[in-house]
């Protein structure tokens, strides 16, 4: 369970979010999208608030969260590296980018480095097929990427304080 002060903060934020929605069960995914955007993940306390608000059991909410890949249960790294594995990127060698990122940061997709600085995601098509292969650091798109370029970018952020 999140710490008490964090919990209270989440409760307060959740009140603001939930106010926007009618108490209808079909709003669950919209609310979760909102929460994910607000916190960068979906805290347990937020789920408790939603469960209470929409009268949906916690297990069902957890089932929905773990079904959709956009929802995460833990915060991502400060720099989230998403390697596009859409077909266009794959055909142009995106797999070696992903392999390299994993090797370099010693984490798997979905994981965060112990210092919380980096996380890796393999995503399906970020929509920049013309620039394939593509990886992103947070919202910044790096097109026509190579393993070398990825190395440089990671090194740049790693050396940052």
């Amino acid at each position: 369970m999140e710490q008490k002060c964090v919990c209270d903060k989440i409760k307060k934020e959740m009140k603001k979010i939930l106010e926007k929605y009618p108490k209808e069960k079909d709003r669950l995914i919209a609310i979760l999208n909102d929460v994910q955007e607000r916190f960068g993940y979906i805290p347990k306390q937020a789920q408790l608030e939603i469960s209470d608000y929409l009268s949906i059991p916690m297990a069902e909410i957890y089932g929905v969260i773990t079904f959709y890949s956009r929802f995460t249960l833990a915060p991502k790294g400060k720099y989230n590296i998403s390697v596009c594995l859409g077909t266009a990127c794959f055909v142009k060698g995106a797999k070696s980018l992903l392999d390299r990122a994993q090797e370099k940061l010693k984490i798997k997709p979905g994981e965060v480095t112990p210092d919380g600085k980096f996380s890796i995601d393999d995503v399906r098509c970020v929509g920049a097929c013309g620039l394939a292969p593509v990886f992103m650091v947070n919202d910044e798109v790096y097109g026509n990427a190579t393993v070398k370029k990825l190395d440089e970018v990671i090194d740049k952020y790693a050396s940052e304080e």
Binding site: L48, P57, M58, Y62, G63, T66
Partner: protein
């Protein structure tokens, strides 16, 4: 009517019938796994696929409705091959420790593997791994044996409207879990155990206490008393191949004695005691403007549900302990004193159709002066296992009799095992008390039967008394919502957590999907209980000679200070999610 051909047989069935039902009605067997009539009709497992002429791909027989002129093949070569592969895939991600599984011999997956002559699993590969959850006193989840049929989820979510478990993750990693995979002990699970009843494999089972009981039985110093709930006797025989609804009370008593219990008592007598107290409490509430409606509290799953979901309304619950807890307290006080047995040395084992009773007997409140009311609860299924372990030929046993001095129970006690039974028993006593005389009317059929919520208005001593009976937690919730909204005008409500009452409890013999599709199990067991009542000499709790004696010698009168000490309890708010 719709005409169709199944496996070359021309048949005619009602419109809206599924292919599976149509086949079943005509003696054609289609294998199923995820199908559970009216509860889980989702077509997930794909075992029930059949070929329909002119249609590409297979049809899902448990869902698809018959159509005029349909030609169905249930066992064509293609269908059988496809089913075989599906079964193979399921087995490839299954624990396959059949020999040491509690469901060995009563497992729908095992049965299919035998039927399809599976000798080797072709498509071996990675298996999903799950930790076993055995934290709670009632239930064990071992999802290494889960085949993701989701019958448990449907039961919990749609029948009981709890939703403690659900499907999480997706794809190969899908599994059934609680929120954050917490133990069922710490979430909104009520321990009703209906999920166990719907599980086709051994993924869900009761927390076994058989070893604890054997240990006590072997302990020379211990005086081990067993008591059996009303619903156990009409179901236990099923575990030995007897027809559903056979009353095996006599054989059960003999078996218990030969297993080595020092005394065998009847929880029905405890039920009579509960009625004495509960009827009294009800009359008091009526006469002194107490909180109404009063709601029964014999069902520990229901009590846990109320404590977690309606903590503001707990004053509606009768303060009476459930029959076996009351009886345990009396055994360890009145009986112990009378026979000069050290109450610390007495071990009370309750045989119950219920797994929530395991949790109930472990509740802090359930003790008097530091002495636990009941030490162990075992289910009907566990008792059957013990009888088998003791190598007893159950079907051939002579009938035995419950031990003195706790006497013979009334018929009112017997019907406690079915929905409506507690209400009817309570009415019999309350009416006599309020009218001040013994009334002839015994049977209150308005509160009998399978309906989820039954209502009746009774004229008692010139007053209209409105009662309701709810079984299943979905119905319990409806009543509680009414109370919460201040829209409930009942005086007295009986609630049992399991749909149908204790006869359909989570500790009862598990019936396969096929049996549940074709036989009304609840009705057969229920009829057996009513027939015990009918044949009883005494049919009102307060007329049970032992009750009269017990109050005279020990408890003074219903609701007395002493009665409160031994027979009543309290309820407290419980966090719905202790996570």
């Amino acid at each position: 009517m719709v005409n169709l051909v199944i496996d070359g047989k021309e048949i005619s069935v009602k419109e809206g019938t599924t292919i599976l039902q149509a086949a079943l009605q005509n003696g054609i067997d289609i294998p199923t796994l995820c199908f559970l009539k009216e509860i889980n009709e989702v077509g997930d497992c794909r075992m029930c696929i059949v070929e329909v002429e002119g249609r590409k791909g297979f049809a899902t027989s448990c869902i698809q409705k018959v159509e005029e002129g349909m030609v169905v093949k249930t066992h064509s070569h293609a269908v059988v091959e496809a089913r075989k592969i599906i079964l193979d895939l399921i087995l490839s991600n299954h624990h396959r420790d059949c020999l040491t599984c509690s469901r060995n011999g009563n497992c729908e997956l095992q049965e299919l593997a035998a039927k399809f002559n599976v000798q080797v699993v072709e498509f071996e590969g990675e298996r999903t791994k799950h930790k076993v959850d055995d934290k709670s006193p009632s239930i064990v989840r071992d999802f290494n044996k889960c085949i993701l049929c989701r019958r448990c989820v449907a039961t919990c979510k749609y029948v009981q409207k709890i939703g403690a478990i659900d499907c999480i993750n997706r794809g190969f990693d899908s599994c059934i879990s609680t929120t954050y995979d917490h133990s069922l002990n710490d979430v909104d699970c009520t321990f009703c155990g209906q999920c166990i009843e719907s599980c086709p494999t051994g993924a869900l089972k009761e927390k076994e206490n058989i070893q604890d009981v054997w240990k006590k039985l072997r302990d020379e110093d211990a005086f081990v008393v067993v008591q059996t709930a009303p619903a156990v006797r009409v179901a236990l025989g099923e575990e030995f191949g007897m027809p559903i609804g056979t009353n095996v009370a006599g054989k059960m008593i003999t078996a218990l004695k030969s297993i080595g219990f020092d005394r065998v008592f009847d929880t029905n007598t405890g039920a009579d005691l509960t009625i004495m107290e509960e009827a009294n409490e009800f009359i008091e509430r009526i006469q002194n403007d107490g909180v109404l409606p009063m709601i029964t509290s014999c069902s520990p799953g229901w009590v846990r549900f109320a404590e977690k979901n309606f903590p503001e309304n707990l004053d509606h619950l009768s303060s009476c302990k459930s029959p076996h807890q009351m009886f345990g307290a009396i055994i360890k006080s009145y009986f112990a004193d009378k026979y000069n047995i050290d109450r610390e040395k007495i071990c009370v084992v309750s045989v119950m159709p219920c797994i929530a009773k395991k949790y109930e007997c472990s509740r802090d409140e359930m003790e008097v002066d530091g002495v636990r009311d009941v030490d162990y609860v075992i289910t009907t299924r566990e008792l059957a296992r013990m009888i088998k372990q003791a190598n007893i030929d159950f079907c051939e046993l002579e009938d035995g009799k419950f031990d003195e001095p706790m006497g013979e129970a009334s018929g009112a006690g017997a019907i406690f095992g079915t929905t409506g039974g507690v209400m009817e028993a309570a009415i019999r006593t309350a009416v006599d008390t309020l009218e001040g005389k013994s009334m002839d009317k015994l049977e209150y059929t308005q509160v009998r039967g399978e309906k989820g919520i039954k209502e009746a208005t009774l004229k008692i001593a010139g007053k209209d008394i409105k009662v309701a009976v709810a079984s299943g937690l979905a119905n319990a919730r409806k009543i509680m919502e009414q109370i919460k909204d201040g829209k409930c005008d009942y005086h007295f409500v009986e609630i049992m957590a399991c749909p149908g009452g204790c006869i359909m409890g989570g500790g009862q013999p598990i019936k396969s999907s096929k049996i549940r599709s074709t036989v009304d199990v609840a009705k057969l067991r229920r009829d057996a209980l009513y027939s015990i009542d009918e044949k009883s000499v005494v049919r009102k709790s307060h007329e049970n000679p032992f009750m009269i004696k017990l109050y005279k010698e020990f408890l003074e009168k219903p609701g007395s200070h002493k009665a409160h000490k031994y027979l009543h309890t309290t309820y407290t708010k419980k966090e719905k999610y202790d996570i």
